[in-house]
């Protein structure tokens, strides 16, 4: 399986995301923001960082990158897409996910290991978890406060589209402690904390992040078998 990892100008975690994909057993394929070609990848990761310097709003300019046009089309066609941190912001700006990410309520950049509760295993990226499972992965953001109108939040809750919530403390003021959400089809997931930084004992607080990457491989494998 080939997992594409996009590099925008200002991406920081593309290397770690590619490494996490490889550790999960995938072939990592580097995608370039200016190249609309997806090079035959089966899934795409939009990594963390500060694409285009976070100018205007986080993710606002990345949304218009040539590679994003192809990714938006592919995502609407069912291709799994995971946006991590800045990638989550890009997915919201691209309207692949509802809502927006705003300045942390306390205004501080927050960088720490964070407990999350996985609320649904029913997405392309969380099938290897069990609903209710608590995991520990790093969070590091300045604009991670998830906001949406009440109706959207209620819809997300009712449809089981809140993928993960912060537990044991909300690091940024996100509404309803939202750390990760998915689209209606479950193939597009945006997550503010960083699973790609929790895939090896040497550098991460746990190996809990690996589940996101092994999940998508299983999802793709199942889809292949169903054909």
């Amino acid at each position: 399986m080939r997992i594409g990892v996009v590099t925008f100008p200002g991406s920081l975690d593309d290397g770690d995301a590619a490494r996490a994909a490889r550790l999960a057993g995938a072939e990592a394929v580097r995608l370039w923001h200016g190249d609309p070609e997806l090079h035959g990848v089966d899934a795409v990761i939009l990594p963390g960082g500060f694409s285009y310097g976070d100018y205007l709003r986080c993710g606002a300019i990345a949304r218009f990158a040539p590679v994003m046009e192809s990714i938006i089309d592919a995502a609407r066609g069912g291709m799994p897409v995971l946006g991590i941190c800045n990638g989550f912001q890009v997915l919201c700006e691209a309207h692949l996910l509802p809502g927006a990410l705003t300045r942390n309520q306390h205004l501080h950049f927050r960088n720490r290991d964070q407990w999350l509760r996985v609320d649904t295993a029913g997405t392309a990226w969380t099938g290897e978890f069990t609903a209710g499972q608590e995991i520990l992965i790093p969070v590091k953001n300045g604009e991670g406060c998830y906001v949406a109108d009440e109706r959207t939040l209620d819809e997300l809750e009712a449809e089981g589209r809140i993928v993960a919530r912060y537990v044991r403390g909300n690091p940024n003021g996100s509404q309803r402690d939202i750390a990760a959400i998915t689209n209606e089809a479950g193939n597009v997931v945006g997550i503010m904390p960083h699973p790609e930084h929790a895939v090896e004992a040497l550098t991460g607080p746990s190996l809990d992040g690996l589940g996101f990457f092994t999940s998508v491989l299983r999802h793709l494998g199942d889809r292949e078998l169903a054909r």
Binding site: L56, R57, A60, I61, F64, C92, E93, P98, G99, A100, T102, R103, N104, Q105, H106, L107, V147, A148, D149, G173
Partner: protein, 88 residues
Amino acid sequence: MARVVVDVMLKPEILDPQGQAVANALPRLGVSDVASVRIGRRIEIEFAGDPDLDRAREIADKLLANPVIEDFTIRVDDAAAVPATESA
């Protein structure tokens, strides 16, 4: 050259922690009669020819503002403000 000014503000229901931080600092200047502060962004667009408010509105709606969390107004510089009717 014609300049169009776009003002982008967070919607009233969206918390503005930057504005709050500024408001909280005001008492240190001896200012005690400010009820609230909200911070937005002013963008100046220079058109090569005549100012094109429709084009400016499209630019604001698609890129300069995020309608999920922000409202915007556009106006030709130094002229009366033109409220953006769509999405704002």
